[in-house]
């Protein structure tokens, strides 16, 4: 569609409200207000048309690596719309909010079990926000311990998500990046060589962004703990291990979750997400307040944590996302492990099917995702990612992780059926047969063709 901006409709507002004037001194009064002047029917058409120009999980395969774009079950949309939940004010009396608190408490309990940790805060609004919260806890912990002047460094592997170093810096730490070893895993020697009593924490995912499980994890944990530092678990890749193993048993101290990934809450075109944080018992007192606790059958908000970092979100977190995650876990129960297995089967099967055609570096056995390289095919990852759009699928995450040249990071998730994967593989193969001209011309059947991003950044236009 060639769709006008809302502001350009000028079809006349028809939202009915009784007219009314308030007595405000002229000094304070607004003179000009220029919002779109448009009928409700045109608002509906506008957004219906826009939505049809948007790809989503409900259209097809969406194998963005590390993003876990699984099907978002529709029963959760119903549940998230129950008015007894949606219409609660956060500052209402605890007694009025028992239902809301029960959900939050229940989710805390589930997340404890799933992570193998001891305490949970649901407050962070997104994965990166959870990282920031976790790192603030690290900071506060060492402050209370009187070591903050000394513990200045956070170590991060070069394969890590960009949010890790960004969050660490935000909390005032120096970031030390260590290279991966030849297997794409953590280089224990490199680690040993940088870890010291200046180290506050080591932030990693396991499996990592290559989809490879690092079986040195216990050793890694020992190295860190030997230096009095903490091990931080980035939960973005949780879909690989849910029900199989836990960060707790692997020796982590702090974990964040991405509920919108692992627990199937819809990603909303960029958010809202939710990024709860789980910690070991010795860090409980540092969690954001309140945490939800229970006394007999009464749920209450505990603000009394001795060393709490305070608040990290305005209230208690993204409740409607928490509710969906709770509901997802409650519904699937022990079957969540089967989802994990299927997600891993899908990734390995897809890697296997593509392996004769693309280079898939490092260890063969993958977990929930894998990274291929177009290096050696004569094609660029960018071109291939655009070419396959014409086949009604979404591209993998491209040019990440940075340690693989021309990387395409693919995570089919358990939602992908064999049929989906076979089709995706066939499209990826077809791309290799496409001429350079065809590749550069792609995509052709999308609502717009390739966009000049450099020009857009140079001639910034950020409003209509």
């Amino acid at each position: 569609y060639d769709e006008d901006f809302l502001i350009d409709y000028n079809t006349g507002n028809d939202y009915y409200l009784n007219d009314c004037n308030a007595n405000i001194p002229d000094k304070l009064k607004r003179n000009n207000l220029r919002l779109p002047d448009i009928r409700s029917s045109d608002v509906s058409r506008h957004f219906t048309k826009l939505s049809e120009m948007n790809y989503s999980v409900d259209i097809g395969t969406y194998p963005l690596g590390s993003c876990t774009m699984k099907y978002n079950p529709k029963y959760n949309d119903y549940i998230a719309g129950i008015e007894n939940f949606t219409e609660m004010h956060p500052l209402d009396n605890e007694k009025n909010m028992q239902g809301t608190l029960e959900i939050m408490y229940g989710l805390q309990e589930y997340l404890k079990k799933i992570s193998g940790m001891d305490y949970v805060s649901l407050q962070p609004s997104a994965g990166a926000h959870g990282e920031f919260t976790g790192i603030l806890i690290v900071r506060k912990y060492f402050e209370i311990k009187g070591e903050i002047g000394k513990r200045t460094d956070i170590i991060i592997p070069d394969s890590a998500h960009g949010t890790n170093p960004a969050s660490a810096t935000m909390a005032g730490f120096n970031v030390i990046e260590i290279p991966s070893d030849d297997n794409g895993l953590i280089d224990l020697h490199a680690l040993e060589s940088v870890v010291s009593d200046k180290t506050a924490a080591f932030m990693i995912t396991n499996p990592n962004t290559l989809g490879i499980f690092d079986d040195n994890i216990i050793k890694i944990s020992e190295i860190l703990h030997r230096h009095g530092a903490m091990l931080y678990y980035d939960g973005a890749n949780f879909n690989a291990i849910l029900g199989i193993t836990t960060p707790g048993i692997m020796g982590f101290d702090i974990v964040h979750f991405n509920l919108h990934k692992t627990f199937a809450t819809p990603h909303g075109g960029g958010g809202p997400g939710a990024g709860p944080v789980a910690v070991r018992a010795y860090l409980k007192d540092f969690l954001p307040v309140p945490v939800i606790e229970k006394n007999e059958n009464y749920y209450y908000m505990n603000y009394n944590l001795r060393h709490t970092i305070g608040k990290i979100s305005s209230y208690y977190g993204s409740f409607s996302i928490l509710l969906r995650a709770y509901s997802y876990i409650l519904k699937n129960g022990d079957n969540l492990k089967i989802n994990t297995q299927r997600a891993v089967l899908n990734a390995n099967y897809m890697a296997n099917q593509l392996s004769g055609f693309y280079k898939i570096p490092y260890k063969k056995l993958k977990k929930h995702e894998f990274v291929l390289s177009t290096d050696g095919t004569g094609k660029k990852a960018l071109d291939i990612s655009k070419y396959i759009l014409d086949f009604g699928v979404h591209s993998p995450t491209t040019y990440f992780p940075l340690i693989v040249k021309e990387a395409m990071m693919i995570e089919p998730t358990e939602t992908a059926t064999k049929k989906d994967i076979d089709f995706y593989v066939s499209v990826m193969k077809k791309a290799l047969d496409a001429s350079d001209d065809e590749l550069r011309a792609a995509p052709l059947n999308t609502s717009v063709s390739r966009i000049d991003e450099v020009a857009a950044a140079r001639n910034l236009k950020l409003k209509w």
Binding site: I24, K27, N96, L330, Y349, K418
Partner: protein, 431 residues
């Protein structure tokens, strides 16, 4: 039925367990999460939990989150699969719908605030304020931030967290004890060469529409103004862009987002054009495709974590995109006239609340013009609780201000019924 066996065969394995051989046995767990449920049983269970929430018809809560009416079209739009279940628009060619909607969001909030640029959302109002402080620090490198002495404690806590890694000092400025308005002289006396920014609030934390905020511009010297505003109030009161804000932030929940016990919310974040490269969060830019057709992309990504990593302007990845679409839909359905009416009704309802309580002997703490939140002298907390009234938040719980006796808030919106106001007045006044 799918042929799973053929997948296993292709991998040359007999069972899925073989795919987990890389995880040492002693790391494996046997987790019990319960029997799976049918969808019916699930919904039944959750509904029963929901029934434990009590929703009160005497609803006078506010102070940041407001129970406003949301046109159903807003919910309809954000429940469209294509918006709801899409990811961040990494492939713009198949994401023009969300990109256009977010560009419109940026535009509509910029128009609402009369600011140059608005980013594509922060988590909530308070974290947006935290990011604003960080941004101000990046802009001028100074380290004193002036804040209102009556700032909500929870807001301040977030500010402290957001500047935990920075060398920032918060200095409080005062309010006139009688009028409850900003003390401009106090600000003037506290602004110095180290002042990075002044955080202003309008309506202020006492709930008053504060005319002095409009004059802070005149005393700020070289510091920046970070304006915290109420987006609905901009239907009738002057926008931050008109009184010199460099960065303007707000909680956007009122713009079509259900309260949901406080989340998800929406952080509105706008600023002057010149600061764009120092700004946090996502930005959607207009460009053209190969065929010269208008198209939208995420732009200035070099500021962001996935490219700049440790030196990024913020760590934000997931944001509140869907809520931004809700706000866009809400504001366009209402239009200028609708927003003006809602803001006007709010002010009038607050007046009504004041006169109703006054006629039952309950006095306001200040005489100014209120927007949604009104501060009253009322000490019989027990009665509030016993009558199951949702409201009556204590000033001393929300802020560090303790020199007003028994000051409690009751808040209104355009939904507040006159009968509820009268009932509240009867109950509270009946001493």
């Amino acid at each position: 039925m799918e042929d799973l066996d053929s997948m296993l065969n292709a991998l040359g394995i007999k069972s899925i367990d073989e795919l987990f051989l890389d995880i040492p046995e002693d790391l494996k767990v046997n987790m019990k999460l319960g029997e799976p449920l049918s969808e019916y049983d699930l919904i039944n269970k959750i509904k029963k939990i929901g029934d434990k929430n009590k929703r009160n018809h005497l609803m006078f809560l506010g102070n940041g989150i407001y129970d406003r009416y949301i046109p159903h079209l807003v919910d309809e739009i954000i429940s469209r699969n294509e918006f709801l279940t899409s990811y961040t628009p990494y492939q713009p060619e198949i994401s023009q719908g969300m990109l256009t909607a977010l560009f419109e969001y940026q535009s509509i909030i910029s128009d609402l605030t009369e600011m140059d640029v608005t980013n594509s959302s922060m988590y909530d109002g308070y974290t947006a304020l935290g990011e604003a402080v960080r941004m101000a620090y990046r802009i001028n490198g100074k380290n004193e931030i002036l804040i209102p002495e009556n700032i909500y404690k929870s807001k301040l806590s977030i500010l402290n967290n957001y500047s935990y890694g920075l060398n920032i000092k918060y200095v409080k400025y005062g309010f006139d004890r009688d009028t409850g308005l900003v003390d401009l002289n106090d600000i003037q006396s506290k602004v110095n060469e180290n002042t990075c920014a002044i955080i202003t609030e309008n309506p202020n934390s006492y709930g008053l529409i504060d005319e002095n905020v409009l004059s802070i511009n005149e005393v700020k010297k070289n510091s920046l103004i970070i304006s915290y505003y109420d987006p609905i109030s901009l239907g009738i009161i002057k926008p931050p862009g008109e009184y010199g804000a460099d960065i303007a932030v707000a909680e956007g929940q009122q713009l079509g987002i259900h309260m949901n016990a406080g989340g998800p919310l929406l952080g509105l974040f706008s600023f002057k054009r010149e600061y764009v490269h120092k700004s946090p969060g996502r930005l959607i830019g207009e460009g053209v495709d190969k065929n010269g057709r208008r198209a939208f992309v995420m732009t200035l990504q070099a500021r962001e974590q996935h490219i700049r990593r440790a030196r990024a302007m913020s760590n934000i990845c997931s944001n509140q995109a869907l809520m931004a679409v809700a706000a866009t839909a809400y504001l366009s359905i209402l239009g200028s006239s609708g927003l003006r009416k809602i803001a006007s009704i709010t002010v009038n309802k607050a007046e009504r609340l004041k006169s109703a309580l006054k006629s039952h002997g309950i006095q306001t703490v200040f005489n100014g013009i209120n927007f949604s939140d009104v501060l009253f002298h009322y000490g019989n907390y027990k009665k509030i609780a016993e009558n199951g009234i949702s409201g009556g938040l204590r000033l001393s719980d929300l802020t560090n201000i303790d020199y007003y006796d028994d000051a409690v808030f009751f808040s209104v919106t355009e939904k507040t019924e006159d009968e509820s106001i009268n009932e509240l007045a009867r109950i509270l006044g009946d001493d």
